[in-house]
Each structure stands twice: as structure tokens, then as C-alpha cells.
Point group: C2
Chain length 243, copies 2
DNA sequence: GAGTGGTCTAGACCACCAA
DNA sequence: TGGTGGTCTAGACCACTCA
């Protein structure tokens, strides 16, 4: 029970939502786990099942939890088939399903410049891990990716580890470090290919490319990854749904 | 009341949702109107207030209805400040607010080719209205727009009418024809500027542009507008939220 | 104060799943 | 068969708006 007459009143179900989120951050339930049933949670927090239900509904709507009738409520994960590429909006113009492959072309640790430090909300000069890679779709190189993450939460990460995970960064973050990305923001522009990228993607200098700058956020809306993808879009496009 | 043992069982609130949508399509409640209160609707459909509430919640989540505590539930509209440019994802890199202006550079009626007819789900050869225009942001030309809509639902539309509405197409569709767009899909690619566009946007031939192909849908997910925007993105970007 | 949407509860029953 | 989430109801009370 909660004091309803408090000056900074918040609906009960929102408070429950915060408590659930804290259990997720704290690692009580990890990606892929089943969380306790609605009735159990109602008992734990001393509220009705309907209130817990509303909190879970909200988290399920944000793709943080997944409900499965008859089985239980699960912590969402990037590991399952079908959800693996949840943040990838690039699809073939033909609609064909494609085979993705990742080839690592660079790995280093650097000090964060002011720009990236600001975006990732860390101190300028903190250590970043930066990865460059080439993504091929059905054998054709299409994306030149540049990824930066703070080194601190990813202790022990190295180039070989990424290779082992076959370039599936989000799976690796979850499985090995318990860091789950819940949402991302992307900024798209059209640019002309630089020499470095033109060579990697087998293009002419100055060819138009789709530039996708992405910032990914983990629980509590904390930014955890910066990414710049330069994409060839002659037979692919970026899909965006407006609602 | 509804037969729950029917073979093709659907939750009551979904059936209510369909009934509400039909009233929207039929024009019983037009954009900007207040719909009856939850209690009234519960009485009309012979269900509990909670069931109506769930149906309305769902429609509100799709931005089709808007709830205002203490006042009532409204049919969403593109006419209000703040919602006017709901589908415009292009923002200044600086984050500055901008003044938009539209200059019409072309207006004609044509027969639909197979491609557009397929997209708009009309017969090839049907009459389309096609508009070309130049959008300027704070005085600078940034988007070269090409718009196509079926002529049939927009009887009496002409170039002057568009000018009167100052290029705000979605407002005009609603206000003058009762056609409200509820969602859209966009496909983005990077292309090189053609001669026509380069001249309009004061660019060099071959400069990289963001190409945005949009299909907009009205109630019942019926496609009603095709649009191709070619955008200069040297100091603007397209924002996309991934969840 | 009357009317609206917003929250919360308690309880019944249904649909789905696994053992 | 028992446990889970999903639907539906009825009723109480709160917060907001406006006359």
C-alpha cells in the first residue's frame, strides 16, 4: 500500500513498474527468465492483481517483458530467432529474406572525445572500445559499421570474443554482461562515400550512402552504445513506421 | 452482448473497437469532435465501462482518439498545433525550431501507372492527382516533394485549394474531405540528385539526397496517399525511434 | 457541483500450456 | 489437473474541467 495523499502522487501501477524495473536492473530476473506470476507479485507488493497487470502491460508494450498465455511473463531478450535483429530496419527492396554475415575490420581502445562522451553520458577521456566491421547481406557488402561502447561495463571484452558471437553484439551484451538494450534512437542522413568506405563497399568515391547514427539505451534509459552505419541502398531500403 | 462460444471468438473489447472505428469511418464523429462518454458508450453497446475503456485505450494508443481527463475523448486531428507535423521526422541538426513554407511547382491529373495503382489499391488507369512542391525550412529549400492521391475521394480539389491551405495537405484532407490519415510507412534510401531536383534545391548534380517514399493510410488501413520526398540533409537529419 | 476520464479493487470465468 | 495469463464485470473513489 502507498500513501495516496502524498504531494508527489504517482499511480500505484507506475510505482510497481519502477519496482519491477529495479529488479531487472539488479539482475534478479535476467533476459530470458520467467518472472513471478501476477498473483505472486500482487502478494509481494501488497496490491491487487489488476494493478500488477497494468504495470506489466506497460512494460510489455515497451518490449521489456513478454507475456505468454498459459506459461508466464518473460524478460525480453535479443537472443531468440525473430527478435535477433529487432533494431535492423534495412530490408531488401525485393522483400527477400537474407543471410547476414559480419567481418571485423578493426578493434581498439581509445579515450572518449567530448562528442561521444556527451552522448554516452560518461567523462571525456574515459576508455571506449571501438569496433569497425563490414556487414554482408547474402554475400554482398552493404554496411560499414563503426561501434563505440564504454569499456567499464564490458570488462574482458576483446576482438576474439566478438568473433565468437559472430558479430551479434546485442546478444553478447546480454549473455556475457547482462546489459540489455531496450530502445534506440537513429539519425539518418545521406552522405557521399569517403575513400575508406568506398573501398570497403566496392564503390566509387562520392557514391551516395545512407548514414545511420544510432544511440542505444539500456534499462533506465541509460545510453550504452554509439554506432555509425554507412549503408549502400541501391537495392535495399530503411523501413520506418509512423504512427 | 456477444456470443462467446462462437467458433471465431474475438474479445468483446476488440469488437467494440471495430464498432467505434465504423462510427469514425461513417463520419458519426469527425476529427476534433468529442465522442460520447465511456458510460454512454457502455450503455449503447451493453457492455461494462471497463470494456469500453479498454477499446478506447487501444485506439488512443494508435493516436486515433485522444483522451482528456475531465473533458472527454476526442477524435484525433492533424489540425492542432503540435500535432500538425506529426509525420515529419526531419529536424535541424541544431535542434532549432523552424518555420516551414510550401511552394507549389506542379499540379496535374494523370492516369495511375501499375506501380502507384498497386500501392494505392486502385485500378490501373484510375485518375490520380499529382502535386509537386518545394518545402523551405526557415527560408532554405530542403525538400522536393512529389505527392499522388486518387482523385475520386477528393472531388473538387485543385491547385488553388492547396494554396489556400498553405501546403498543409493532411489538414486539408480532414477539414475538406473528412479523410484522416492514421499512420504511414516510409522507405528511405540515399540517392544522387537528378538535374530537376538539383536545380530546385540549388545543388550540384549528383549530390547525395535522402529519398523518402511514404504511403499514408486512413481508417481501416486503407492506403490514400503516395509521396516521394527528396531531402537535403547537410544540416538536418531524419529521426527514427526504435523500440 | 455535475460530469468526465483515471485508478484500484475483488471476483468470476475463459483460453492456453505442461506435466 | 493445476497454474498461467486474458477477459469481463461491478463498484468505489480520485483528479480534472467547466459552468
Amino acid at each position: 500500500m502507498v500513501d495516496i495523499s502524498s504531494p508527489n502522487y504517482r499511480p500505484l501501477y507506475e510505482q510497481i513498474k519502477v519496482l519491477l524495473t529495479q529488479s531487472l536492473i539488479g539482475g534478479e530476473w535476467r533476459p530470458g527468465d520467467v518472472i513471478p506470476s501476477e498473483i505472486d507479485l500482487a502478494g509481494r507488493y501488497k496490491v491487487s492483481q489488476g494493478t500488477v497487470r497494468k504495470a506489466i502491460d506497460s512494460l510489455a508494450g515497451e518490449n521489456i517483458l513478454i507475456r505468454r498465455q498459459g506459461k508466464g511473463t518473460y524478460v525480453a531478450t535479443h537472443n531468440e530467432e525473430g527478435v535477433k535483429l529487432r533494431f535492423l530496419r534495412l530490408t531488401a527492396a525485393s522483400g527477400q529474406k537474407e543471410v547476414l554475415n559480419s567481418e571485423q575490420v578493426g578493434y581498439k581502445k581509445v579515450k572518449a572525445d567530448a562528442h561521444k562522451a556527451g552522448i554516452l553520458q560518461i567523462k571525456a577521456g574515459s576508455i571506449l572500445i571501438e569496433v569497425k566491421r563490414l556487414l554482408t547481406f547474402s554475400g554482398r557488402p552493404l554496411i560499414y559499421d563503426h561501434i563505440a561502447i564504454p569499456a567499464a561495463p564490458f570488462k574482458g571484452l576483446n576482438a576474439a570474443r566478438i568473433e565468437e558471437n559472430n558479430g551479434s553484439m546485442y546478444s553478447m551484451y546480454e549473455t556475457e554482461y547482462g546489459v540489455r538494450m531496450i530502445r534506440a534512437e537513429e539519425r539518418l542522413t545521406a552522405i557521399a562515400a569517403s575513400a575508406e568506405v568506398a573501398e570497403a563497399l566496392h564503390l566509387e568515391l562520392g557514391a551516395p550512402l545512407l548514414s545511420i547514427e544510432r544511440v542505444s539505451y539500456t534499462y533506465g534509459d541509460k545510453p550504452m552504445e554509439w554506432r555509425l552505419g554507412l549503408c549502400l541502398t541501391d537495392d535495399h531500403h530503411y523501413m520506418s513506421e509512423l504512427e
